[in-house]
Symmetry: C2
Subunit: 350 residues, 2 copies
């Protein structure tokens, strides 16, 4: 759900991309993004794409042909990272676990010590399974091996801890339509000084020009060299989305998502649903993924919720299609009232 | 300038990307785009990027490593196509003329017969110079040589003749914020059955996953397989932008742009400005590019117009920086009254 203030912001007049007002909005968006990413990275800006474009920017700029790319995969979006790595003609090695699981420090270091990759990637909040992994189990081993770490923060940003600098993530990307409660269309990205130094020294150009981070950065910094035409309504919306987060306070917002998510799981278990992620510390707070009771047709339940209550919940992707329900309670939807409305609707529909 | 109806449309509630209402908007956007492109190409849809992303999709999908790519260059954006071709590790050959010029049938066929390229690209309306080239001088020679033809229609679409099928263009891309009078953020693309057949048979995957047209097409057609999350407000805006064009009539809209553009050039010449493109048949109607009188500082004039009248006009790009003025009169701005307001402001500022 898009925050009402983000909707409203899109009505503001569209200016040129070097208009002083637009540049001031852009600067505030960048500083707001640093806050939610938990970083001081100067290279933090939204790129003109969906979250998958952010993924491609991260992989396309930092994973070179012939380099070794280690991906921790236990879900659909981690698999997508590996696919993108192969398209860069890198040597992709995957450390794979069952859908819904996360990686322990021992698993991560054993794998990294054995493979000695140039770049490591993991998904902080795997939208396809509901599993959350801060990344602390992975970054130390990766850095010890001299590898840069890419984190997919598509679903974590703005809703639960991302903390790039404290976790030790080098390159992170996200989207606008989940934890930031804005319309889709922009992908915030953040790059550490260490990763930027590597990129700055890269001799060859990445295959992508559109998502070339060195070119993009020149637009977001003085003297704002023209690269692409940005979409002002999406910036205006993100500007307001970030202001809403700042006003609530990032930690208060996390806490709200946690409280509502835990209540939802507790009540759904009573109704016979079972969380896919067993350990409650490894669950995404604002995306509850459950297996329905054995006799329940998940597609029919989703149809009923949509047609009778206007509630849209998602089904499984890929291997988990037809097996799970994915319930988002993000931003304005993460309240006791909304959770109760949803629970009542589910109770009446099963 | 964004059409008021396109602004208003962005306030509509955001739905999921497989919501029946959203799918109906998407279908109507696709059929409206076929109209403005002048094509029956089934593969016509907006991709989630700016116009430069459309350029990258065209080049990245159709220009393979090692293939021969011929680019007709006489401006900044044609140069960009060549840059993208090199990033695909293609053998790029350029037929280059002075900025503001277009290519004759003889020049095109001599070049193509000599180079025997796999793919040919040209810019229909070169935003950096104001030159318009329908492409008729290029397509016949290209097809005779068995090459596919890519056309950059970023500035022509919705404002002057594009006519893909009649001209014989195989792959065309555009943007949302120029002739369609919508906010930036979507790039309409259209692919002929012949080009699609080639793509369908392509054995290797392009380096780009985000702009992979085979994956994108699966989302825009049944059964609407998930690829990326589209940005509903941008679709809503384009839906209205295309409806506005349909109501006015495409040919009436072209005529309006032509009339205003010709008036502007005529009056600017009286004020001592000189059009960069000498032949009036080779000028973009809605983007007037002029050299200022010898004693006039173009940057100061632009500053004065902006600060005193709120009129934004663009300067030159690359080699033409500091030498020209680029004046857009597109969509709601292409009226006698707006042109007169602009001319009065210029007359009072020089």
């Amino acid at each position: 759900m898009v925050d009402p203030r983000a909707y409203e912001a899109m009505g503001q007049p569209i200016t040129g991309f070097r208009d002083p007002y637009f540049l001031s909005v852009m600067a505030e968006v960048q500083s707001g993004l640093r806050e939610v990413f938990g970083t001081t990275n100067r290279k933090t800006f939204p790129i003109p794409s969906s979250g998958s474009g952010g993924m491609e920017a991260a992989v396309g700029n930092f994973v070179r042909a012939g380099s070794k790319f280690a991906v921790f995969t236990a879900g659909h979006f981690a698999d997508r990272i590996a696919i993108m790595g192969r398209r860069q003609r890198a040597q992709v090695v995957c450390c794979t676990k069952e859908r819904g699981e996360v990686f322990t420090q021992e698993e991560a270091s054993t794998f990294i010590e054995r493979e000695k990759p140039d770049v490591v990637a993991f998904v902080q909040a795997e939208t396809s399974t509901g599993a959350y992994q801060s990344g602390r189990a992975i970054t130390a081993a990766a850095h010890k091996a001299g590898a840069l770490v890419i984190a997919d923060c598509v679903t974590s940003l703005g809703a639960m801890p991302v903390e790039l600098d404290s976790v030790g993530i080098d390159i992170a990307y996200s989207c606008s339509q989940k934890g930031l409660s804005c319309p889709a269309g922009l992908s915030p990205i953040s790059i550490s000084p260490l990763a930027w130094e590597w990129l700055d020294k890269r001799q060859d150009d990445p295959a992508t020009w559109y998502l070339d981070l060195r070119l993009l950065a020149k637009y977001f910094e003085e003297p704002h060299v023209y690269h692409h035409t940005p979409s002002p309504p999406l910036y205006y919306a993100m500007h307001q989305g970030l202001a809403v987060i700042e006003e609530e306070g990032l930690r208060a917002r996390w806490e709200r998502h946690r409280t509502v998510g835990e209540k939802l799981v507790f009540q759904l278990e009573k109704l016979g649903f079972e969380p896919l992620v067993k350990d409650s510390n490894e669950r995404i707070w604002h995306l509850t993924v459950v297996l329905p009771p054995a006799d329940l047709d998940e597609a029919k339940l989703r149809d009923r919720l949509m047609s009778k209550y206007g509630i849209e919940i998602a089904g499984g992707l890929g291997k988990l299609a037809g097996k799970i329900l994915r319930i988002g309670t993000m931003g304005p939807l993460a309240t006791e009232e909304q959770a109760q409305f949803l629970l009542d609707a589910i109770a009446a529909s099963i």
